[in-house]
């Protein structure tokens, strides 16, 4: 795949948090217009990777380029301009608690465009219709269930029709119906709007069912990349442990510690 087809390019990325190395030296290419899933065990830095792509964290070394711009060498104003091309669905939804559903979805349009109020209202209605929550337009975030809040946050993330949408654990804590709705929504939105989607998730089957390209992280490295079929056929023990959910294997069940008997006796 050529660089020109990659909307996000992560090159030789190294990131430390205190004394802990989160990413040793990773390289990931995220192709334009596709759904790319970043997966891996808890604590491998998947959300950190999204924050590095969005310029909310700065790497120790390496480069993250989005639409050809090196995110971490941009001036503050340029970075905020670039972010207008990116939408992000946060794990918690991150709805503004003092704004109604309508105001939350309208907010990116009000602050980033010169559209008149009537047009903004129409766009908000259409976005809420897309996520099935047009009827909840006047509710406050505190009146929404977790799944509904996630869908409103999705409507807000796509309000500006961004070129890139990043989803941080979109299926976490969802009941089967809510999960099915979100899986379908993400796939449909990607196809109809043609944007690039980056999904961080633990939910193997749901994610593999919609992702065009998958990247699995573990121990600060990319341990596997490829299509869903390639990942399923991977010979890596770590990959097999992760996708089948084996409790013990190369990724140990126990946190490193001294021998149990030694600790019990003395």
């Amino acid at each position: 795949m050529s660089v020109s087809e990659n909307v996000i390019q992560i090159s030789n990325l190294k990131f430390m948090r205190a004394d802990r190395c989160i990413f040793k030296d990773i390289n990931i290419s995220i192709p334009k217009g596709k759904i790319t899933a970043i997966m891996g065990p808890s604590g491998t830095g998947k959300t950190t990777l999204l924050k590095l792509i969005g310029g909310q964290l700065t790497p120790d070394s390496g480069r993250v380029t989005v639409r050809g711009s090196d995110v971490h060498s941009l001036a503050r104003a340029e970075l905020f301009a670039l972010r207008k091309k990116m939408g992000m669905l946060f794990q918690s939804g991150a709805l503004f608690s003092d704004m109604s559903v309508f105001e939350n979805v309208a907010f990116p349009l009000q602050v980033n465009t010169d559209l008149d109020a009537e047009l903004i209202r129409d766009i908000v209605l259409l976005k809420l219709q897309a996520v099935g929550l047009r009827g909840a337009i006047d509710l406050m975030p505190s009146e929404l269930s977790g799944g509904m809040a996630r869908r409103v946050a999705l409507a807000r993330a796509i309000a500006l029709d961004p070129e890139i949408v990043m989803y941080d654990e979109p299926f976490a804590g969802q009941d089967p119906i809510g999960m099915g709705v979100l899986v379908t929504l993400i796939k449909k939105l990607n196809q109809s709007l043609g944007h690039t989607s980056v999904i961080i998730s633990h939910d193997i089957q749901e994610t593999l069912s919609i992702a065009d390209y998958i990247c699995i992280l573990a121990d600060g490295e990319v341990i596997a990349q490829g299509t869903a079929a390639q990942i399923r056929e991977s010979s890596s023990e770590k990959v097999q442990q992760f996708i089948h959910g084996y409790p013990d294997g190369p990724v140990p069940f126990h946190f490193p510690s001294v021998n149990l008997m030694d600790q019990l006796i003395g």
Partner: protein
């Protein structure tokens, strides 16, 4: 010995780095091209939240402090047959010292802690990160209106405190203790100077307002996004603000009234 030196040095460097970060927050939030169409409604909303909602506690505290001053002043001055000067004592104590300092302490406890908790919670629930990803700078959208609201409301609250306190002192001195009202008001009028007393009091409250809101928003921004972290940041806002108010009060009083 070297260990103690290293720990002290690290602590000092951390504090210095924290001060540097707080200064950068202040610069980014305040020194930007003004956008009245969006900024003014946000500032007005924060003025209500920070200023109007603090009015009751400020007014009630001012009333009682003024009444106590009237009572205490009378019992001392009456021994010297100078009870007519109780108005002067109440007014100067309030305008020069008690109004700016007590208002600032109450403001730190009511509005400062609320600002820290609000910003800390916005951080914990990823609302600040969400703003950044929408392309909106949280320093301009969230921090700047709160800073301006703090700067504007503190001097106004301090003046209200002083006015209510003087009336409290007048009620006790004139209506209860029988001080002649003509003497009470005329001695006060002749002894209180607008520039030396009133204006210096306003300058003090401006400085306190600036310091409290700066500490409050910075503590909120740098808080650890957990319930314990927010609780700690809120406590630190009140503690740091109170210490800074008292220390700065001495410095400002020395500069204004110490003839140095």
């Amino acid at each position: 010995m070297l260990d103690i030196l290293a720990v002290t040095g690290r602590h000092f460097i951390e504090k210095l780095a924290g001060f540097g970060r707080a200064t950068l927050v202040l610069m980014h939030a305040l020194f930007v091209w003004p956008q009245p169409r969006t900024s003014i409604p946000l500032i007005v909303k924060q003025l209500y939240s920070v200023g109007v909602k603090s009015l009751l506690i400020i007014a009630v505290s001012g009333l009682f402090i003024g009444m106590v001053l009237g009572l205490q002043g009378y019992t001392i001055l009456v021994d010297f047959a100078s009870e007519q000067a109780v108005g002067q004592m109440v007014a100067l104590s309030l305008v020069r010292e008690l109004a700016p300092v007590v208002t600032a302490l109450l403001f730190a406890g009511r509005a400062g802690s609320a600002l820290t908790a609000e910003i800390g919670l916005m951080k914990a629930t990823e609302q600040l990160a969400s703003l950044e990803m929408i392309g909106v700078d949280p320093l301009r959208r969230i921090v700047a209106p709160r800073l301006w609201a703090g700067f504007i409301s503190m001097p106004l609250l301090s003046m209200i405190f002083a006015i209510v306190g003087i009336y409290g002192g007048a009620v006790v001195s004139i209506d209860w203790l029988g001080v002649y009202s003509g003497s009470f008001w005329s001695v006060m009028q002749s002894s209180v100077d607008f520039y030396d007393d009133v204006l210096n009091g306003v300058i003090k409250s401006l400085v306190f307002g600036f310091v409290i809101t700066w500490i409050a928003v910075y503590q909120g921004l740098q808080s650890v996004p957990t319930s314990e972290g927010i609780s700690q940041a809120t406590t630190q806002t009140v503690v740091y603000s109170s210490l800074m108010i008292l220390a700065l009060d001495f410095v400002l009083t020395a500069l204004m009234f110490g003839n140095i």
